[in-house]
Amino acid sequence: MMTPIEHNKQSQTDNLVEIRGMSFYRSTRAIFNNIDITIPRGKVVGILGPSGTGKTTLLRLIGHQLQPDSGTIRVDGQNLAALSRDQLFIQRRKMGMLFQSGALFTDLSVFENVAFPLRIHTRLSEPMIRDIVLLKLQAVGLRGAASLMPSELSGGMSRRVALARAIALDPQMVMYDEPFVGQDPIAMGVLVSLIGKLNKALGITSIIVSHDVHETASVADLLYLLADGEVISTGTPTEMLNSSDPRVRQFMQGQPDGPVPFHYPADNYLDQLLNPEAQ
């Protein structure tokens, strides 16, 4: 039998998320086809890939908002599919998620949005909640916007408030869905640094889904590149940037021509233009 110290040591080396043989379909189209992904505990992992490859879907699958058609997804050793509805909601308190749209509650002010998880899941006193909310808002540079309503914020500001809300409970893992979209260069730099600091200071495991290769590579310990429903490459940012695989090089260097098509699958362009009846 393991002692508590041994157990802690083992859990420190565990992977926080383990996806094995996972497939997910939308109608007949395979979004993921038998993929394996490992998110090591305490690391920043970037998930890269062209638009429409299912990066956001992957985050929803990890949070069990969607269920895979086959394979398993274990988070912190738990197979979320095996949990009851109430247990699942308890398990989700260990996760924070930054949605692409921010997804702030429109009937609550910025302050109340960040205070929401604290009010629901803790019995902290009002002064304590106030201090934590101000700390989180200060970290994303929006302490001065505490009294504003979500409708008064820009898209980038909404996402920063959503980030403050996602880390309000100091979760074990934060999933960032396109955190750098719509941010000005200053906010972008602050966000990159904040994700790194959260990871190092609090030991939070971070999963970043993004198109912004350089920002993601600058903060990530490990990158996964998804395309055509599969993991086409994985490695450290340096390994990926120096990869000889033409698909990886094309994406990492943003080249328009290469094996990864820019266009969604379609009939021949000229044929379609010249034969309107054929459509």
Binding site: R60, F89, R93, A103
Partner: protein, 264 residues
């Protein structure tokens, strides 16, 4: 020809299966929303807020409609009964029509149009803007936090609104009958007192409005939650709430009336 008939049969079967599937999903949805522990504080405040949104804000349309319907009943009743010298029975006509039928039914139809559609649109928009998803990821079940208080607010509000509709309608009938058309005040009110039974009429009317409250609120919250998260999807959900609720209220009213009043 035979293939065409088979196609139609298959289409009919698919519609039936779709309906049953939707009914099953909405049943599970309602069960999860109202029969599980909420696990968070502040439920009372949430319910009060929804009682304000769903109930109190529907008060104006319900009161004004009740007043006019009562006035119209008084006027129509008088114009017929006066030929038989029975204008004193106008009070009885107005009160029984309102308490047994028009109160619960018209209130439910108004409620579906005013509050039901608003509930569906609000929940549908929360879905479209990922507010429900973000709530899930914060570890809060939206069925308990968003759906349950709205459902219960609808169930509680409907009988109260129907009661207010009835009272205002009777006063509307009294205004037209007594103050305008000159019916003797004593016969108007005593007619009501003698003919309206507390259990058979008022009680059954309240049971009807409670059933309508459950059905309309259920349809409204489910349609919002099940809406396709697009502007068109929300528009369809809102329309479906009003159409399904109205049809359900009218159909159930016939069944409940047959059960409650056939022996009277």
């Amino acid at each position: 020809m035979r293939l065409d008939v088979l196609d139609r049969l298959a289409q009919f079967g698919r519609l039936g299966l779709g309906f049953l599937q939707s009914l099953g999903r909405s049943g599970v949805f309602l069960f999860l929303a109202i029969f599980s522990r909420s696990g968070f504080t502040g439920r009372g405040t949430l319910l009060l807020r929804q009682l304000y949104n769903v109930g109190l804000l529907s008060l104006v349309i319900v009161t004004v409609s009740g007043l006019f319907i009562g006035m119209v009943l008084g006027l129509q009743g008088y114009s017929i009964l006066v030929h038989y010298g029975s204008e004193g029975a106008v009070g009885q006509l107005v009160a029984l029509s309102l308490v047994r039928e028009l109160g619960p039914v018209v209130t439910a139809l108004l409620f579906a149009g005013r509050a039901g559609s608003a509930l569906s649109a609000e929940i549908g928009l929360m879905k479209a803007t990922e507010q429900l998803s973000s709530m899930e990821m914060i570890g809060v079940d939206p069925l308990k936090r968003v759906i349950a208080p709205r459902f219960w607010a609808g169930v509680i509000s409907m009988p109260l609104l129907a009661a207010i509709f009835n009272v205002v309608g009777i006063f509307g009938g009294a205004f037209v009958g007594i103050d305008w058309l000159g019916i003797y005040e004593g016969s108007f009110w005593s007619g009501i007192q003698q003919s309206v039974d507390f259990v058979d009429d008022i009680g059954n009317g309240m049971v009807k409005s409670l059933v309508f409250g459950i059905v309309v609120s259920w349809i409204a919250v489910f349609q919002g939650y099940d809406a396709t998260p697009t502007s068109e999807g929300i528009s369809r959900a809102t329309t479906r709430t009003v159409v399904y609720s109205s049809l359900a209220v009218l159909g159930l009213d016939f069944i409940l009336t047959a059960v409650m009043f056939s022996g009277l």
